[in-house]
Symmetry: C2
Subunit: 234 residues, 2 copies
Amino acid sequence: MSKSPITPPLQRRERRVLTDDVADALREAILSGRFKRGERLIEDELAESLNVSRGPIRQAIFRLQQEGLVVHETHRGATVAQISLQDASEIYSLRKALEKLAVEQACLNATEADLAPLEAILLLFQSIPRATMTRRRVAELDIDFHDALFRAAHHARLYRAWEALRSQIFVFLLLRDGLPEDYLTSWYLAHARLLAMVRNRDSATALACIEEHIEAAYGRLKEHLLDTEAAAAR
Amino acid sequence: MSKSPITPPLQRRERRVLTDDVADALREAILSGRFKRGERLIEDELAESLNVSRGPIRQAIFRLQQEGLVVHETHRGATVAQISLQDASEIYSLRKALEKLAVEQACLNATEADLAPLEAILLLFQSIPRATMTRRRVAELDIDFHDALFRAAHHARLYRAWEALRSQIFVFLLLRDGLPEDYLTSWYLAHARLLAMVRNRDSATALACIEEHIEAAYGRLKEHLLDTEAAAAR
DNA sequence: CTACAGTCTACTGTTAACAATCCTGCCAAC
DNA sequence: GTTGGCAGGATTGTTAACAGTAGACTGTAG
């Protein structure tokens, strides 16, 4: 996920605190694969390597647990979360429910200013030469698009539920490594269509659209997971 | 919410830690109204009154924030969350989405053992003399019933999303203070019907049922909030 | 009376030392 | 060979002291 480009004007600039930095660092380390799945996160080690005391590390770990990137057991410590087919099923079924609500609410509440970021992401996507496009870059744009959609819904609790899923979805998006041309074009079309429908306040069609979109994403993911699983079993 | 009566067998008895106790104490204090809405939670005070250092208090506050009972701002401290009509709308729209998914998944995954607690709660409800029934007791049974439903869905992430809403819903259930006879009977009927449908794996009807149930609950709540708001304005 | 600057206090954020728990490896007993 | 203690080390949970910030308070000038 890229840092949000526009800081909203005249809003109380929320102060960053050590825990925030630590959480960002750990999240990045996990997402970039520097920490392997299942690896233990030892507070002392992290504290030393990040030059911080254990307090902020501790809080950051709890935050990442809430994001689903880490599992923590009392007196046993934290480990990087592992993902299974079952997890994928959970994540995408919940995601579908949340995105449907988001679309519905966005159709009701979104102003044109809320939709501008979605438009901007699509334009940005178009402006990037296909040759320089990386899997990671697409994943970031994808997450940013949906993030903006959830923001446009103006539903704080829904947004927090989405936050608990977001990083886990990002992990999935990074799994595959090919970037076929037809994926890029269909990515653009699907998102552009969705935006148009929300803009038209066409709730029913938008709902069908997002549902299909998420299901397609899950289908591709599942296929990939089954493939790699089969390959690993060999 | 009453403590769960049956501890599941052969499961790693998760050790309780100070943070857990503190979180429970604070939650109880908020739900019982001992802490008023908007009241500041001062770490030092709480630490002293609970005879614990500030560490566990801190963590407990973050946990309650995640449950939506408390809002926390950097360098400013935590306050007990206040609820508005807008919040009620958010909570019930999200709740509807989550419960629909829960019902769907429960129809797919629930074993008879998962449904037994639901049955038990209904029996318990019947066994309590109407005269001794309190608003709080009904609220606890209500939350417990839905909690068991979410458990029966066998969907860890969905359950965590529900946990982030549960206490807030409980607050709403405690708001009104009358306990009309027809409310009690319709409560029983609605929940019994829902259970029967899940047991029959009748996903479509169960979905319609839960949707109606949540919408009715929201309708009653909204009416009440508008009433008290109007009364306060006078 | 209002607007503004500087100080002061109460509180949160951070640190580092202390206590409790879990896990490992070892050894003895059966 | 397997089971059951029993140290010892590694790691988390807890505490208490230190550092930094936000908001209130005071006093002064316009």
